[in-house]
Structure formats: C-alpha cells, structure tokens
Symmetry: C2
Subunit: 402 residues, 2 copies
C-alpha cells in the first residue's frame, strides 16, 4: 500500500486515533492523575509507577489543554472534562506566586519549589484556560486565558518587566541576543486562543496580529538564507553569533516552527507563509535527519563544528512528534512526494523505537542508534502533550470529521 | 608484569609523566594560550583549533593553578611561569564585577557574559593565586588568594550574602537542602592554600579547621549508611530527599571526594579519615563501575529507579581521572589488592577510550560503550585541569621525588 494513498490514509488515521484513545490518553488517566491533591503527576516509570511526586506547572497547563481539547473536538467525555478540570483547579490554586508569575515546579500539595526566568508556564496556562473555557462553557476562564497570555507577553518580551531575581542568562549589554522559542510559543498560544475564544485584542494586538508580528520576525531574523538554516538565537539584527550557543541548531524545534507557520498559511491561505514553512522544513529536515541510524538529531552546529552539548546526537520523542506533524501537513498542502517519503521515514522510525507495546506510551530518550537511555515515560520535561497532540493532530488532518 | 608491582610502578610513573609533559601540557600551551588578549581559550576542537573564543573564568583559575603547580613542584620552567601569569593577569583584570563576585564566562577581551549563583570561580581563583604566590615569590598574591577564599566562603555558605539576582534554585522554605559540592571544593581549596601559603586563619578558622569542619559534615550528613552511598544533596539533617534530585548519585564526584579525604588522612595520619575515604571509595565504586561496558557511569539512582537526566549513562573524562587517583591512593595507603585491580581497570579503560594518539589530549564525552559523542578537547566545562592534575598527582605518588 503506497504511503499516504487514499487507502493508506484511512488506515493511518485509525492508527493515530487508536494509539491516542486506546493507549496514550488511558496511560495518563490511569497513572498520572493525583486523586488526592488534584492535578497531574508526570514523573512516571516505564509501567506508570510514580517515581517523583513533584509537579510540573508546565504540564498542569499542557495536560489540561490536551484533555479539554479532546472534549472540544472529539466528544465531551466526562472523564476528559474531569481530568482537564483537575489540572485547571491545581493551576488556579497553586500555579502562581504573589507577584503573579507562574512557578516551574511545586510539591505534590502545591508548595513552591522552583521558578524560572522563562514564561512558558504562563503560555501553557493560557492555552489550558482557553480550551477549558470552551469545554466548560464558563466564560470566566476566557478572562484567565487572556490574563495568562498578557503575563506571557510581559515576561517573555519586555525586559523591563522581568523579575529582578531572573536576569538574562547572557549579559545583554555585552552580547544582545534573541531566542526563537518565545516567538514560536507565542504563535502557538495565539493560535489556540483565537481558535477557542475568537480573535480578541490582547495588549494592543489581535491574536492574528501577534502571529503575523512573530512570523515576520522569524522570516527576517531567524531564517538564515546564507547558511540555509533556521537559527535558535541571533543578534538583534539577525546576524549569526559565532559562538557555541549562536551556532547551535535544534532541527526538531525548527520542524515544530515549520508546522506552526504552515498551519497559519493553510488557515488564512497565505502563500508567503506556505513558502516560509516549507523552506524551514526543507532546510531543517536536511540538517536534522540522521542518514546513518535514522531519526532526528537533537542538536547540530551551523558550520558543522562540534556542539558543546555532549548529548547532542540523542533522539528525543518530541522532535519526532513535531517532524511527523510537519511532514504530514506539508504533504497535505502540496502533494509533493518527498514529504510523504519523509513522513513515512520519521513515522516508522518513531513507532519502532519510541513506542512501548507492553506498557503503553512512548519512551522519551534514546541514544543515537535507538537504544533506550532511560525507561521513564514522563518527568518534569515529558508529560501528556507532544505525543498525544501529534496523534490528535494527525488523526484529524487525515480524517477531518474524526 | 603485575599491576603496581615495583617494576610496574616505575613504568607507570613514566607513563603518567610523559603523558603530562610531552602531550597534555604542550597541547594546551600550543593551542590554548591567547597571545593577544591574555588568558586561556578552552573551546578547542579535536586538533586544537579554537571553536569559541569566549573564556571560562573557572578555567583561567584552574589553568593558572596547574601551570604554577608544575613550576612549583617539577621545575621553575619559564613557559609554565609565563602561562600561569597570563591566566592570573586575566583573572585580575576581568575576573570580577564591581560587586566583587567572579563571572562564569566573559568574552575574549574580558567583557562579562555570564555570572552564576555558584562560587566555584572564586575557589579556583583562590588556588591559582596561592600557587602563583609561591611560584612568583610575590606575597601580594597570597592576599588575593585569601580574599578569593573568603569570597567563596561567603557566597557558597552564607545565604544572607547571596546576591539577590541569584536565589536558590529550589525554594529553601519549601525544601531546604544541602549540596556536597561546596564542601568538597572547600576541602580541596583549603588543602591547596595550606600547602602553598601555610595554615593561616581565614574567616575565623584555619585551613585545617575548615577541612575538619567539612569532612565532619560529609561523614555525618552525606554518607548514608542505610543505603551505603555518598549522597549529592541531602536535607539539613542528612535524611534522603526522595525525589529525582535527592536520589541522584554521581559516582565520579564521590570518588573525587574519597581521595580528598584520603589525602587528608595520609597527610595528618588520621585513621578516621582513612576509614571514611575508603568507605566512600568502596561503596561508590560499586555504584559507579559499569560491569557491562567498563568505565564509570555519570549518574545513578540511589534506589535503582530511572534517573531524570537522559544522558545519565555517558562516560565523562573527569570521573575517570578522579577514579584513577582515588584507587591508586587507596592502594598506596592500604596495599589491598582490590584497589590495584580497580586502578588497573579504570586506567586501562580510560587510556584506551579517552586518549587521542593522533592529536593529543583526551576526548571528554563518550557514550556508554566508549564511542565518542563529541570530538571537542575542551569547552567552557573542560580545560587544563582534571586530566593534567591526575597525571601530575599519580606520577608524584608513584615517584615521590619526581
């Protein structure tokens, strides 16, 4: 059966749906819910046993978004609504300190452990509240979503608003630099808010205007035409910072960026965004795919020099999830056979190496050759997000009425 | 030839000396000196090419200590004295900001890039100044050494003195915890100051009193008799913090601790320290040695659960250097055959996998099975320290008049 032929599409849609609804989501509902204190555990051993009860605030938001989104787009199943509500409640009760900034980790019962400079907890809270506003029909959560997004904008982009205890990692007087992460997360967050709450104005711009603003910055600063690469950090004028950090490419991250942009192109019929997304995908697939062992390298150097991060050649689950989405979406939008071929390659490699047929869900961290580094199914960095989002997104892409 | 028999000892001493003086030190003198701006580059490719000109302040101190120590203990060779002076000058001109705290990294010409909460730059500056005071005969450097050690004591152990922009990583109200790192580095720093400048009083205690204070804390808090392990972080009463961080063992770090304690035992003929050092070595060799592939694992879990760090099974050069010293010193002090056997095992594995016969020096980062992860010879984390210190220490241990 030819990959992504009509008959294969139906089979693949079924595979994604089944893996999502019969394996991954039940794994988290069975093992990740804290029935006593509320919210989600994510530090789960191979079989789902909780190995650390500390809670990631990122994953309270991401998990609540995922469960609410299933309720919104598949069916309003009670256990999904309850699961979403559990994360939402935990976020509201324990997510923030008195300054309004969200934590990074807290104890099982919500006492603060760690806060970070980054504002990604804010962005994940925003998408959770937005999806839950729609799932619950309770309009007050729309306000919470907009508040969290406004906090994200403040902490991620306005240096004057940064908390004094979290100075920039690299002295901005000596070496001013911009990272692509906040722009990408900004785009995905604004897309979610717009989808669930409409295109409202937040901090002076509509969601669509924010998205255009960030895509423009990616196209003009981070896409490097000389080197044919999407950079992770750049000087404010878009030039290469020729040091370890400035040369470090993250192909999986770039492929995630590619599909955020392609999705915007598809929804708004923007040929320029379509071209940008495909360019990022073409260049960064070439940078990231491991022709020897298969799979996507974690880091690469812009000029082919050694990367400082010693685990740079490992294969993580999430870049593979993002690559599966990006290649499938590109094929849907273009019909070009190379995207079907890339999709096949990364789909097959991922399901063969990451999936755990015995206990369910995916391993997160493999060595370059596909051997398992740690059998954890979750941690403070891995929870019910990239994998179920990929399965949900691809299923619906292949079967729009799914 | 039996390992560590008299004839073998002479051959081994020659091997360590030659590798130090004919390979490793020339590698750094040839490739690591910044003849224009002073100080040391450490980000060197396999062949010594500079791949990042940013400078590590840790390694300005560690490198200057190493070069000055060779001048003090081998011979007062001009190029070693000049190399030491270059790092010392750079440290004095560019090492600190106006608050007196040392940076972590600066640009090639000394502009500040990154400062961290930790005070290890201070401790490495202290040993550099102490060794250079002796090498140069300039007593003013003794004062600099004591100042830097006092700054280390202040930033590493007095929370009230911490800079407001560097709060504790984990909220100390929620989860008070102590790390072993500052104690270990404190011991090694005080040992160096005492060796080069005499046993002076700093911040109310002599070097020897500081060492006793920290060894006592290690014995009573960090050595866990129930689990037979040396912990990296503990609750203030020494109990296990049963979360990812609290369970994480670092066997190479523990073996380094073992030889710091054994060295103190040997110098002062302290049977209690001898027993402590050997206990740490016995327990942590068992935890760290990889019976399947050989070499020392980077992280292990106290209870055998998965470690959160996904690169936990990699083999780094420095734990192997520390293990080579610890096992040799234990054999010297006890004559017990298991230490000779362990020394043989880690020596042979290390020289077979880390050493680069073609370009010199050692690779730093290997996969579990010994394959090279990155060919870098140095970075912001690897420079002229662990490897040359090991070669110098073992050579002199085997050939006391070397």
């Amino acid at each position: 059966m030819q990959w992504l032929s009509p008959a294969h599409r139906a089979a693949l849609a079924t595979e994604y749906r089944r893996h999502l609804l019969d394996d991954v989501i039940p794994f988290w509902l069975r093992h990740g819910m804290d029935s006593q204190q509320g919210g989600y555990f994510t530090a789960l051993d191979r079989d789902g046993a909780v190995v650390d009860t500390d809670k990631s605030i990122w994953f309270q938001g991401r998990g609540a978004w995922m469960f609410a989104t299933l309720a919104n787009t598949v069916e309003p199943r009670r256990e999904w609504l309850d699961a979403a509500r559990s994360g939402i409640d935990f976020l509201q009760r324990f997510g923030r300190d008195s300054s309004g900034k969200y934590h990074f980790t807290v104890t099982r019962d919500g006492r603060p452990l760690r806060m970070r400079r980054y504002a990604f907890s804010e962005s994940f809270a925003a998408i959770a509240f937005a999806a839950y506003a729609r799932a619950s029909g309770d309009e007050s959560f729309a306000d919470h979503a907009h508040e969290a997004f406004a906090a994200y904008l403040r902490y991620a982009f306005d240096p004057a608003q940064s908390l004094p205890q979290f100075p920039a990692k690299i002295n901005p007087q000596t070496r001013p630099m911009l990272g692509i992460g906040p722009l990408m997360i900004g785009i995905a967050t604004a897309q979610e808010l717009r989808a669930n709450l409409g295109d409202r104005i937040i901090a002076g711009r509509s969601c669509t205007q924010w998205i255009d603003h960030w895509i423009d910055s990616i196209a003009t600063r981070f896409l490097n035409r000389e080197h044919e690469a999407l950079l992770e950090v750049v000087a404010p004028d878009g030039s290469v910072i020729d040091h370890f950090d400035g040369r470090m490419l993250n192909p999986g991250h770039a492929l995630e960026c590619a599909w955020f942009v392609l999705q915007e192109a598809r929804q708004r019929d923007r040929a320029d965004y379509r071209q940008l997304g495909l360019t990022i995908l073409d260049w960064m697939w070439r940078r990231g795919w491991d022709c020897e062992y298969g799979g996507i390298f974690y880091f690469r150097d812009l000029r082919g020099l050694p990367v400082q991060e010693y685990w740079q050649d490992m294969k993580f689950w999430w870049p593979h999830c993002e690559a599966i989405i990006a290649t499938l979406l590109a094929f849907e939008m273009t019909g070009e056979s190379r995207y079907a071929e890339w999709h096949r390659a990364v789909h097959e490699w991922s399901f063969r190496h990451f999936a755990d047929a015995e206990f369910g869900e995916w391993y997160g961290y493999l060595h370059r050759d596909g051997r398992i580094s740690t059998p954890l199914k979750g941690s403070m960095w891995k929870g019910p997000f990239h994998l179920p989002r990929m399965l949900w997104y691809c299923w619906r892409l292949l079967e729009p009425r799914g």
